[in-house]
Symmetry: C2
């Protein structure tokens, strides 16, 4: 069978050649229904854009740099692999490739940017794990290297650069609302110390929902470092209160697993006696039956690529960075919040 | 500070320029102690090989293709991310970059090879997840595209291509030996149905160790499909025997988690009443305290790159593929095999 051409894809999807080209290069210009239809035809026919022609037309390398996470946290950060997979799958459908690098901290990562730009002339970078005082975004912005971050510019102006993020507060709001709906009134929050901006965002969702329901007990607002053991110790203290919580919302699945360990150690039943909700919907949560707020990684990757195309199509530097995109997490309910 | 040169690295490490060049381009030619010393100096000084010069000299793109795993199993396969991270870190120390692709099955992956070779002229591929009747290795071998696999050529001649693998039988042998040492005599094995060659390899380690200890009970040799629920159901049957096992060795951590769930559901204590050992040392195992056989991913990645250099330096096709390299897994002992 002959290799499918742009013309064949356009005919089959009943759109113009320009629309197919837009789906591949500037998907933000195409209506979602049309995009879905054209992408389905591309996948069905196995159409592959001719990269040489594309490079000639756009003068781009069609390469995007992204970091692979070091395996330092076995629970929550595993979901960043899902993001990287989604980014890779979606990018290759558009004729783009993801070039990987590894780095331990900002300075190291900037060193990798330098080398990648020198050796392979990348079009753009997709960053993860933004944080207060992020040296990477400052470096890229100063050199006018196009980039998009998955994670907002914590501690900086929201319009500092293009970003996609998940609304942590919406996740804990949904979790707390659900716990109130099924009858809980003593709902604790296990969060991080207040220097972690993402943690404060997640705490706010819980605190605001409790306040709106007329509930306030600051003994139930607990701050601990990340990790199962810290979660376990904090839970022991909470369950020793004269009026212990019947439900705990946690800033991560790691802390939620610590809650789980302490609850079962006491012979209490998870779900029936004590409800637990985590954050990040890690693979571990799915396996043991922990309810958790899931970050929509496919949507996040698609949004990052779309913003990236907009950034690349804009004059450099863009007067205002396109975006941001704030996505709602999805509360996944499992046995740990079931009352029977 | 001036950018460090090859000369400066050589002087600091007290070796010749050629040795530094060999560490970067043909590490298999350098003695391990020397390599470690030179690599430490490279890292310390932040030396970066000049890729343009390297490409000119070797006529290589310095690009290696590797697949990112789809997130289809949340427990065991997560460890392949560690392999990809180790491959990326070590490759970039040698001036190589990993270009990612996503693919669902062999045909799809071969389509990606075609496109990657056409667009980016990759030097080689590193494959994971080899299986009986692997269409990918046949395709690459036929076209004389250099590649190395992490995973042996199951069902084909061992010398079919260059490969690195972990000795599954050695892992279950170590697990079973440890259980015998701490006094267990009724040791069951939860494995896969016999069409999975890697599963048979792991079963053999258990069966041979039991046989050598004069133990044989075929009711304790159980074959179930992968997944926590299958592990749980099989454990229920085993624990209902008149003479139930006191220890279970599992072909994966997923099945071991199923054992764990059934043991605790019955009010038995993991470790003290029933010992459990998994395979793959997943992040979940580390968190809940499951003993497990760990695949040495850093070593595996280093060995894959080293074989790849040998393949690239050999005339194509090589008369005999270099390798294989078979690595021993490491048994990580945790609470699930502790008797107190």
């Amino acid at each position: 069978m002959a290799r499918p051409t742009l013309e064949i894809v356009a005919a089959r999807a009943a759109v113009s050649r320009q629309t197919v080209s837009n789906v591949l290069n500037s998907p933000h210009l195409v209506r979602p229904e049309t995009r879905t239809r054209v992408e389905a035809v591309i996948a069905e026919l196995g159409y592959r854009p001719n990269r040489a022609a594309q490079t000639l037309k756009t003068r781009r390398s069609q390469l995007v740099g992204a970091r692979i996470e070091p395996p330092r946290d076995g629970i929550n950060r595993v979901v960043l692999t899902h993001f990287l997979h989604a980014l890779t799958s979606r990018a290759q459908l558009q004729g783009l490739r993801v070039m990987l690098f590894a780095a331990d901290e900002d300075r190291d990562e900037i060193g990798q940017y330098e080398q990648l730009l020198e050796d392979h002339d990348l079009d753009a970078f997709v960053l993860t794990d933004t944080h207060v005082g992020d040296a990477r975004t400052a470096w890229l912005a100063e050199r006018q290297v196009p980039f998009v971050t998955f994670g907002r510019p914590w501690g900086a102006l929201s319009a500092y650069h293009s970003w996609v993020d998940v609304d942590g507060g919406a996740g804990t709001r949904a979790a707390t609302t659900h716990l109130l709906d099924i009858g809980h009134r003593r709902i604790a929050f296990l969060g991080w110390p207040s220097d972690a901006a993402a943690g404060d965002d997640r705490r706010d969702g819980w605190a605001q929902t409790c306040a709106a329901a007329g509930i306030h007990d600051e003994r139930l607002d607990v701050r601990v470092p990340e990790g199962l053991e810290h979660g376990r110790a904090a839970t022991a203290k909470l369950l020793d209160l004269a009026d212990p919580p019947t439900a705990l919302v946690c800033v991560t699945d790691s802390l939620a697993l610590g809650v789980w360990a302490e609850v079962t150690r006491r012979g209490l039943r998870v779900g029936r006696d004590v409800a637990i909700v985590g954050f990040d919907d890690s693979p571990t949560a799915a396996v043991i039956g922990l309810s958790s707020a899931a970050q929509p990684m496919d949507q996040a990757a698609a949004a990052c690529l779309e913003l990236m195309h907009t950034v690349l199509d804009a004059p450099q530097p863009a007067p205002t960075p396109p975006g941001p995109v704030l996505l709602a997490p999805q509360l996944v309910l499992r046995a740990s919040t079931a009352r029977d």
